[in-house]
Amino acid sequence: MEAVNIQFAPATGTEEEWNEAYARLADYFRSYQLHNRIRRTQLILETLRNAAKAHAQDPTRTPTAHSIEQARLMLREWLGSIYSDLNLSEAQLEATGRLGFHLAGGPSRWPQFFLDEKNMPDDMAEAMRSAIRTSGPGMQVSKMTPRDIDLGMFTDVADDTFDRLGRHPILRYSVLIIIVGSVLGYLYSLFG
C-alpha cells in the first residue's frame, strides 16, 4: 500500500477554509461507501493538493468548491479510462461509472483502487463495464388500438339531450325548476 504523505501547505486560503474543505471531502468520499479509512485519507490529501494548486490560480472560489471540482475531475479521468470504448456524454459517463462501481461491489472489493488509474485491476474494470443496467428488456412494440364501441341509439339520444341541456342554461334551469316545483306541489297537496 502506498504510504500516506500528510505534507500539505496551501499557498492561498485560510486554515479555516481548508479545514472546511477537508471535512466536506471526508463526507464526500464517505458517501462512496469507502470504509477503508487509509485510502480515504490518501484520496482526501491528494484532492486537497490538487485543489490548493487550483485555488492559487483562482482564489475567488472557495477551497471547498475547488476540492469537489478536483474530485470530479479525478473521477472523470478514472472512469474515462474504464469506459473509453463507450460513446457516453459526461453526465452519462459519471452516472454509469459510479453505478458500475457500486454494482461491481467496488466499495467493498476494491476500495484501495478507487480513483487509482495507474494500478487498476483488470477484473475490477471488467466488472464495472459489465454492470451497466437498463430499466427493461428489449421492447417488442405492438399496437393496442382502441376500437370504437357502438353505444347504441339510446345513448345517442341521451348524449344529445345532455349536450343540448349543457348548451342552454335556461332550458337546464327550467327543467330543474319544473322538477322541484312538482315535488313541492305534491307535498303541499298531501299536507295542505
Binding site: 463526507d27 458517501s31 427493461g136 405492438s142
Partner: protein, 720 residues
Amino acid sequence: MSAAPIGSQTANIAMTAGMPPKHVSRTRRATFFSLVGLGTIVGAWLSYIFLSENGMRISEWALLFVFIPLYYQLNVGFWTALFGVWLMNRPKPDPLNLWLSLSADDYEQPITASTAIIMPVFNEDVTRVYEGLRSIYLSLEATGQSKHFDFFILSDSDKASQWIEEETAWLELCRQLKAFGRIFYRRRRKQINRKSGNVSDFCRRWGKRYRYMVVLDADSLMSGALLTSMVRIMEKNPGIGIVQTFPKQIAADTLLGRVMQFAQALYGPPFMAGLDYWQCGEANFWGHNAILRLAPFIEHCALPPLPENAPFGGHILSHDFVEAALMRKAGYAVRLLPTTRGSYEEGPPTLVDMLKRDRRWCQGNIQHFWLLFAKGWHPMSRINFLHGILSYVSSLLWFLFLVLATLLAATPTPHVQPQAILAEHILLGVTAMLIFLPKTVILLDEVITGRMFKPLRLRFLTAFSSLMDTVVFTLMAPVLMIFHSRFVVYTVIGKSVSWVTQRRKIDGGVNWSEIIFTFLSVTLLGIAWAVIGWYVSTKFLIWISPILFSLAISILMAAMVSSSRSGRRLGLFLTPEEHEPPTVLKTMQQNLEEIKDRIPLSPELERHYGLMQVCLDPYVNGLHVSLLRRRRTIGVSDTYLKEISHRLITQGPQSLNAQELKALMHDTDIVTNLHYRIWSAADHELAPFWATAIRQYNLASTSPFAHTLAKQELEPAATL
C-alpha cells in the same frame, strides 16, 4: 405419461376449452334468475297488496318503484350465497371448477409459457410494494418454475422523492435477489389514462414478449404455487381470456380492516362459488390478482374514451369490467377461480379511506351506464354492468325509500284489511330472511364443517365474531348509504374525482378532525331526521330508529372502527391468514418488521429522502441518470431549470412545488450538476436542509439503496 412440458400442449387442446358448455350456462342462469325473478315479483306483489289497500297515491307508486330494484338486488345476493353454499357442500365437485382441468401429471410438467407479472404503482408506500414483490418472487422461486416469469414495476408516481425511492429500491431488490434481468422498473413520464393507460403502455412496449400477464395491485400478494397453477390452467384452457382469483384481505390492524377481512374470509368463498355458479364464462375482472391472455387482450381490450367529459364520459375509470366485457365479446371466456389461499390484498384501514375508494369506484361504475346499451355485448356483460351500477345506485334508492316511507308515515292511511296486514307481515319476514339467512347458513356451515378453523374453540369464536361483525356492519350501513347516495348525485351533477393514492396503513391513531369534518353532516342529518320522525309518529320513529341512531353516532362510530383496538387480543375476527400466515405473507411481515426497527432520520429528511439521496449520493445519482432517457434541452427550459435548481440548493426542497421538482429530476445534466453543486457549496450557501442532510445522511444506512428495504440477501440455496 406425456413428457411434453406445459406450453407445448396448447396445440393439442380444443381452442374453446375453458368456455363452459352453453347448455350448462343456460340451465344455471335460468334456474338462478328464475328464483331471483320469482323472489322479486313476490316481494313487489306483497308490497303492492299492502300499499294499495286504500288506492295507490303517487308517493306509494314511487315507493313501489324504488322497492323493486332493491328487492331484486337483495334476491341476487341471497340466491348467490345459497347456491354457493350448496356448491361447496354437494357430494361431487362442480364440473365447471377450473381446478378440475388440471390433472396430477400437469403439476409435474415444467412451465414454458412466458408470463409477465406487472404491478402498476402510483405514489404507493415503497417499502410495502417492494417487500410484497420480494415475497412473491421468493415464493415463485421456491416452486422451481420461475424461469419464465418476469416482474415489472410500472410506476406512474408523480412525486420526485417517491420516484427516486422506487428506483433505488428496485436496484437494491435486484441486487439482493440476484434478479437483474428478471425484475424491471419503468416509470412513465406522462401518466395518461391512469392505471389502464399504464397497463396499456406495458402491453404496447413489451406485451408481445409474453403469452400471459398477471396484474397485481400495489397491495397484492400472491403465492408462487397459485401463480404457476394459474399459468397451467390457462395453458390447458385456451378458450379462457381472463382468470380472476378471489383476493382475500390481509394485514389489517384497525377494527374496520379486521372486521372486513373477517367477513370476507367467512362469507367470501360461498359468495364466490355462487357467482361462479351463474356467471360461468362471463365473469368479471376486478383489475388485479388475475391472469390475462395477452394477445387477445392487446387486440381487443384497448379502451376508447366515452362520449362527453368526465364524470359521466371521458376516460373509463373502472376499466376492469369493460375489459372483461371486451374479452368476452372477442369470444374468450372470463372465469372466476375458486381460491381460498394464495391470493391476497389489503383493504382501507378507516371508514374515511373506504369512502374515498368508494367515491372513485362509484363514478367508475356509474360511467358504465353508457355501456349498458352498447351493441355487441354478451347479455351477461350487460348484467354485470347493471349490477355494478346498482351496487351504488341502490344506496340512493334506499335513501329515497326511507324518505318516501317517512312521507307516507306523515300522511297515514289505515291498514285494516287482513289481506294487507298479512302481506305486510309476510313481506317483513321474507325480507329479514333475505338479509339474514345467507349469513346464518354460511355460519352454520362453518361451525359444522370447520372450513376456516378445525379447533372447535375457534369455530365458536368465529360464530361470536360473526355476531359482532353484524353489529358493526349494521351501524355502518346507513352511513354508507348516505355517502354512496351523495357520490351518485355528485357524479350525475358532474363533480369528478381526482386520482389519489390509496392509504393502507394509519400512523398516529384516530384523526379526529378528519372524522368530524367528514361525518358531522351525517350526524346532523340523523338528528334532524329523528326530530321529524318524532313529529310524524312515535311508532314510525321506533321503526326507523336503528337507522337514525347509526347516522346520529356516525362520528363516534367512524372513530371506533378506525381504532387499533380491534379485538385481536380476545381472538375476535380471526382469519386463517392471521392464525397461520402463509409463507408468502410471513416473509413479507417479517421484512416489514425489520424496516420498522431502523433508525429514522429527522422528519424533513425522511419526507424528502429520495430527493436527498439523488442529490447527495453518488451511486443513487448515477442510477437515476442512467435510467433517464436522454433528451435535448432547449434554451428556455435550460434557463428555467437553472433557476429552480438554484432555488433548490439555496432554499431547500420545500421552496419548490411538485412540478418543479419533477422537472429537475427529468434532466440528466441538471441532476448530475446538482450533485456537485451541493457538495461544492459552503455551509452558508446551502439551505439548512442540505447542511443537515450532508451531516446526517451517511448515518441512514450502510448501503445507499437499502433505506426502504429489509437486508435480506438471497442465500444460494434459499427455499421459502
